[in-house]
Amino acid sequence: MAANPPCTSAPRLQPFSQFPSSVLVECGSPGTDIISTVEFNHTGELLATGDKGGRVVIFQREQESKNQPHRRGEYNVYSTFQSHEPEFDYLKSLEIEEKINKIRWLPQQNAAYFLLSTNDKTVKLWKVSERDKRPEGYNLKDEDGRLRDPSMITVLRDSLLGVGGSTGRALWEPVRASPMPAAGVGLEPVPGADALLLALQVPVLRPMDLMVEATPRRVFANAHTYHINSISVNSDYETYMSADDLRINLWNFEITNQNIVDIKPANMEELTEVITAAEFHPHHCNTFVYSSSKGTIRLCDMRTAALCDRHAKFFEEPEDPSNRSFFSEIISSISDVKFSHSGRYIMTRDYLTVKVWDLNMENRPIETYQVHDYLRSKLCSLYENDCIFDKFECVWNGSDSVIMTGSYNNFFRMFDRNTKRDVTLEASRENSKPRAILKPRKVCVGGKRRKDEISVDSLDFSKKILHTAWHPSENIIAVAATNNLYIFQDK
């Protein structure tokens, strides 16, 4: 696939590349809150971001409103909470970063939302729930929450009941009559020694401003020696897996876990390959894939064995001898693997390309897209400044017809699998005004540079788009550019 389509004077825009409106949402201050993961939930109503400071920010899509039709579909902050805190591993004298590596939503089963968030070592299950009513009329405390003076609550009983009055008794002492205006339910006195008149009130629920609260429901800790790079919720909604560099663990939501993949060699000196990403099949709860630093993908079936060290399928593309260099292995390392929504394909991202594989064909991918092939001649410099180790993610659109991934200079790329067209777009403040149309960008590889083109040497390698997300059913994308989140919609 050509990295840059031939430049024409008026590039035709495919439907997916027309983004009339954009919402720029800035998260946090530069340098501290670098966004590290972005994920839509299963309906697309919510968008969660995790950042380097361990915070999770959830955006919610505004409902359609007849009064303000142009505001339909904007995402506003819904909830913010601190998911992970920095920790210190005393055994190794190392810090454990609080950076959120991945967020995955659970399918919604009741009014509350559940998500998994993970840093390098610990996975947490968070419940995000709304509260729009609150009880009022407590007996024991007033509206501010302060405890009431017991003597103010009820009229002290008299000797009708024959119980001695003193401190320490229950506050709801029966009274004979109720001269004080009772806010709640009161019972008419019934003659008789056991008649009770309660001046107490039953608290009632009154509407309040919407409050969204997040509570940790589970903490899955101490199961990973190495850094967690992936989590994936199973389609059975009862289990999920977490993958680090050398092991994959399967968790039941009741905390128990089981190790299902272990590629750690007996002798660490022999280590030459690590796990880079893992994901469950979207429909088959026994199937998952994991990718490696050597550019291979293994598909495993959990029904065959408890420890899935032997794969059911092994996907690897033979090396192209003409392109071989000392960097071949590094650029073949897969940074992300994603099943298509249909479950028929998997997509992998390595340093220079995105590949689509058919699950039924293991010897080579069915499609290969060049993301930024102009970097192939710069691999030495990129190795020197460590950019060659950047882990880009890739996403499918809802219909599996378009794939998207990020690049440098705040560029991100989209590839239409059907028409084979591709486009380069930029997430930047200058270009993103509300209801502006995104303009395709182009990188000039050599020779004469046209007016709007940017040359390879001018690319800013510190501005990298590693994390993107696509709404499950609509043309809405979320792009994380360092500490800024861009949401683009197709109208």
Partner: protein, 284 residues
């Protein structure tokens, strides 16, 4: 430049026929591999050296520089956070790849023959050694900006007390940012540079923690090292053609760490066993 030419001539004359054969084989493998670079072969044409100085650096030197850079990267395990295992493994694999190729060329074997007196192909450095951080006390040298890689990095003298996995190297890079004028290919310098790079790692391991170092490289020839210093002092730094900011290292690295990747990872299994036990999943 003139002095270096003289030295080169001396070294050439001392090269045996065996080495010449190695060079020829080496050229063949270069083409077979199809690597993209221009090959400057000063061995065959001394008169062309003057013109060759301005040529793109030879494959040997490029490879050498890549090896040096990789070794430094492996040493620079950052202090506070556990190093990225994937990155370390990829760099270590690259180093192995270079070593394998150099072994096949005979370049590697020449080094071993000279320095240790033994010829062995089992000198591929394991990931363990490469990932292991050096153990010297920090000398408080500042690490210069090495691209964008370690821009905030400073060695910490007070760090040697803890069992840190990371290192605080103090690489004194000579910031020679002159143009890509390239010195001629110098096999002796190649060997010296490589040996020097290994020295930087292993001499700091000497006498510090003798128990944990596997004796892959048994002896270091100090006199050899001195020759390198003299040569590199005269001839300017090696560079790869496309890497504009590559700097070389002229002093040994010193670190404050006591620990190494391998023992830490293995120890952890003993101290903190993984929290796993089987769970029955009701598969449908």
């Amino acid at each position: 430049v003139v002095l270096s030419l003289l030295l080169y001539g001396l070294l050439l004359s001392s090269m045996g026929e065996e080495e010449g054969l190695h060079q020829t084989q080496f050229l063949d493998t270069m083409f077979v591999r199809g690597l993209k670079r221009k090959c400057f072969d000063g061995e065959e044409d001394i008169e062309g050296t003057l013109a060759g100085i301005k040529a793109i650096p030879s494959y040997n030197l490029q490879r050498q520089s890549l090896l040096d850079m990789s070794l430094v990267k492996l040493q620079l395990c950052h202090m506070l956070v556990e190093p990225n295992l994937c990155r370390s493994v990829l760099i270590a694999n690259t180093v192995r790849q270079i070593q394998e190729e150099m072994t096949q060329d005979g370049t590697w074997q020449m080094i071993n023959t000279q320095s240790t007196g033994q010829a062995s192909l089992d000198r591929l450095v394991s990931t363990d050694i490469l990932c292991r951080s050096s153990r010297d006390q920090a000398e408080g040298k500042h690490v210069p900006a090495y691209g964008t890689f370690n821009k905030d990095f400073e060695s910490d003298q007070a760090q040697d007390s803890s069992e840190t996995m990371s290192t605080a190297p103090s690489v004194q890079a000579s910031r020679n940012l002159q143009s890509n004028v390239w010195e001629m290919e110098n096999p002796q310098e190649n060997k010296g540079n490589f040996q020097k790079s290994l020295d930087q790692i292993f001499e700091t391991l000497e006498n510090k923690s003798p128990n944990s170092v596997e004796d892959l490289f048994s002896e270091v020839d100090n006199s050899y090292y001195d020759l390198d210093t003299m040569l590199t002092g005269m001839i300017s730094n090696t560079k790869m053609g496309h890497c504009d900011s590559l700097e070389t290292f002229s002093s040994p690295t010193n670190t404050a760490s006591n620990s190494n990747c391998k023992s830490d990872l293995n120890d952890l299994d003993h101290i903190l066993p993984l929290y796993t036990y089987p769970v029955s999943i009701p598969w449908r």
